[in-house]
Amino acid sequence: MATTDVVVTGLGATTPLGGDVASTWEAMLAGRSGVGPLTQEWAAQLPVRIAAQLTVDPSEKIDRVKMRRLDRSEAIALIAAHEAWADAGLADSGLDAERLAVSVGTGIGGAQTLLAQDDILEASGPRRVSPHTVPMLMPNGPAAWVGLELGAKAGVHSVASACATGAEAISLGLDLIRAGRADVVVAGGTEAVVHQLPIAGFASMRAMSTRNDEPEKASRPWDKGRDGFVLGEGAGVVVLERADHAAARGARIYARLAGAGITSDGYDIVQPHPEGLGATRAIAKALADAGVSRTDVTHVNAHATSTPVGDMAEIASLRAAVGDHPVLTSTKSMTGHLLGAAGAIESIATILSVRDSVIPPTINLDDPEDGLLDVAAHKPRQHDIPAALNNSFGFGGHNVALIFTRV
């Protein structure tokens, strides 16, 4: 199988654990929770009054005038993209803009802008609605801004597959390079919907944890006491590059993006297939695409969101598609669930695990489910990781599996 090798040469993030990749990774290894109480006035009436909010507000890095025309999801995508871009050393590399593409998605998009401008419309009339409203709320806005600021001219793409978005966007980046449409793709996901309406909507689905009195303990994947996910906000971006292109410019390489597998359940609009068949097929496809054996996959950064049903369905898929040997973690126990950014943030964690041979812990796993696989609970674990799997699943029946390998 002669496919083009694709490597990761840059990382960028802003998360509930830190304003960049280094601080996020440090907090993950320390097992810190990014979840806290929602102190906003509107939160008082909600059944869910906790979330994982950014540690660094985007207004600390982007000036006031520019922030007027950026939705929060766009602002943080830009921050993550600029970090990744600088990290990859591409700023003054003379890269041909027509060989640079962007693939940055969002699960929900500019909902905060939509709601804020609707408030203005109702209170003050249509003339007061900001002329920046449409570019702020359009779901391709984050990708478009990243493309604009980095000068990408090989295409700007915005995947939307709910909580699988970030991973699918990275998978699309792999496809673009393999198809010869770009040499470098800036890829990832962003989400910023900590607002009463999205929270009320997820809460009405009974999908969210209501452990309001113990925010740091609310996200507890695979623990018997779990009662739903915790909403998080943030952005993650990786720089994907054709391996020979990276080698030619002497770029530092984090890991190889060896393969991806995407399937759809064809089962229900929100419920995953009860036996996880769609996820199992995605993992199997990713392994085949990567040309990696099951035994080489010694670590899985799982989707595990802390919902009663989903967490154990994923275990069934992992047993079927990979086996009983990999060591698992769910970094969502610390970051909360970043929806469209989750797959990107978790890819970054997976990439760093592969590079550093260490698995960040799953915190709050005090009373593990019966029949669970080996999980790096409470503390990080040193582990030999020739290859690692990152799973992401989304409402709509989207399943995305990515395989990263050591270089």
Partner: protein
């Protein structure tokens, strides 16, 4: 209201909306060419000016307001 007072008011709006340095705001300056105010920001400037100076600035009039001085004159004679 004097022309200078109107310029000062416009300068405040331009700083808020488009980050224009108030010292750069003068009658002969073009909104787009000199002050770098793009078309969407110009919409914000117009709406804010309508409120500040209690004046109506119809859309078909905005295209005639090329310079700060044009806007000052319009506001002076219509407020």
């Amino acid at each position: 209201m004097t022309r200078d007072e109107i310029i000062a008011g416009l300068a405040e709006i331009l700083e808020e909306v488009a980050g224009v340095n108030p010292d750069d705001v003068a009658e002969e300056k073009s909104f787009t060419d000199d002050l770098d105010v793009d078309s969407l920001s110009m919409v914000e400037v117009v709406v804010a000016a309508e409120e500040k100076f209690d004046v109506k600035i119809p859309d078909n009039e905005v295209q005639n307001l090329k310079t700060v001085g044009d806007a000052v004159s319009y506001i002076e004679s219509n407020a």
